[in-house]
Symmetry: C2
Subunit: 196 residues, 2 copies
DNA sequence: CAATATGATTGACTTAAATCAATTAGGATT
DNA sequence: AATCCTAATTGATTTAAGTCAATCATATTG
């Protein structure tokens, strides 16, 4: 099991002592999900949070009519999970599906709480992570309010250049909350503009 | 200066020692903003985060065309600020305007960082706060993707029963990313349904 | 009480994007 | 190369919501 990417990620945010890191990595176990399989499905008790070591996944909700809304993509060095279910103990409503063969590191709730007690540096690590995730979500909200498909797609490509190209467009459409046809037309118009 | 509401709020989330609280409250100063005045305007260096003791405020962006997008309302016991500008040191693009005469408690960046060092319990307090704010934003994203005005308005009223009724409808429309006329029509249809 | 201002509603019209249906384009697989 | 399968594109049509303009409701103030 390789925890190297996670350790690197932590070191970018905080400055843990070796013993903190040792404690930290001891709490994780490796999880492998092959393409098309699910890491999480609704109506389950969510025990883990996940760090993506390799691969690509999407997290989405399905409403009663079967409409899919992707709330998050995750690639290497992203955290992923149903935070609501994980922290509030409510049943999950989320699907997490592997878009590529993926390897993740999982930590369970009790281990994480123990960790926070024993090494407050990780409280800081997660505070910083969640704060920047919050800021990103605010930008996404802003993008989804009153902007055209074209504008939203451009902002998406700018924010997540590593994801555009790696996942099919109809998935990106679902993330943006638009139809695949709508996204296709917006992309065509953009190409026409570029040429001129 | 009354820090009571803030202390109460903290105690609901974590269990601080008296000396932690004493240190904490010493870092705050009181700020008063009268109705219609601004707590924050774009292109300023954001030095503070705010806790609302009394009143009601809105935080919004204006795009080039002058369209307003409200990203947050804040009433009693809410935290408020331009987190992006505050944590990342970039110039603010946000307006924060008082919708009622308001009293807030402000803490500046350096004091907050010092506080985190000296009392890790507050690192935890903010981690918990931001995590739940993140979860709420995810719900809002979900609501804004592909849902009708009526559905979004209903979810808003359910999520923020204290705000609906306290701020004018055209502000709520701006928060939902719809036109005031659109919200008005949605509300009328809802009333018609209720009667039957 | 008239006068004013603010917010909410309504009607007429327009528009962006969804939907539905069909076709095309690429990759795999054999 | 022929067949499949999935994703992307295109065209035709519908629809939800925006825009514009006017009116109504209600407080507030001189």
């Amino acid at each position: 099991m390789t925890t190297e990417p996670l350790i690197e990620h932590i070191k970018q945010q905080v400055d843990p002592r070796p013993e903190d890191l040792h404690l930290f990595t001891s709490k994780f176990r490796e999880v492998v999900v092959t393409k098309g399989k699910f890491l999480l499905q609704p109506d389950t008790h969510v025990k883990h949070e996940y760090f993506v070591v390799k691969g690509c996944l999407s997290a989405y909700y399905l409403d009663k009519k079967g409409n899919k809304s992707i709330v998050q993509f995750a690639i290497e060095n992203w955290w992923l999970g149903d935070f609501d279910a994980f922290y509030n103990g409510v049943p999950s409503k989320l699907y997490i599906e592997a878009l590529e063969d993926s390897t993740l590191l999982a930590i369970n709730y009790n281990d994480l709480q123990t960790l926070f007690q024993q090494s407050p540096i990780f409280e800081r690590y997660f505070r910083i992570l969640v704060t920047s995730a919050f800021i990103s979500l605010r930008k996404r909200i802003l993008s989804s309010l009153g902007k055209s498909i074209k504008e939203r797609y451009l902002e998406f490509c700018e924010s997540y250049p590593n994801i555009e190209g790696r996942v099919p467009n109809y998935q990106i459409a679902s993330y943006l909350g638009v139809s695949p046809e709508g996204l296709s037309r917006a992309r065509r118009k953009m190409k026409a503009l570029k040429k001129s």
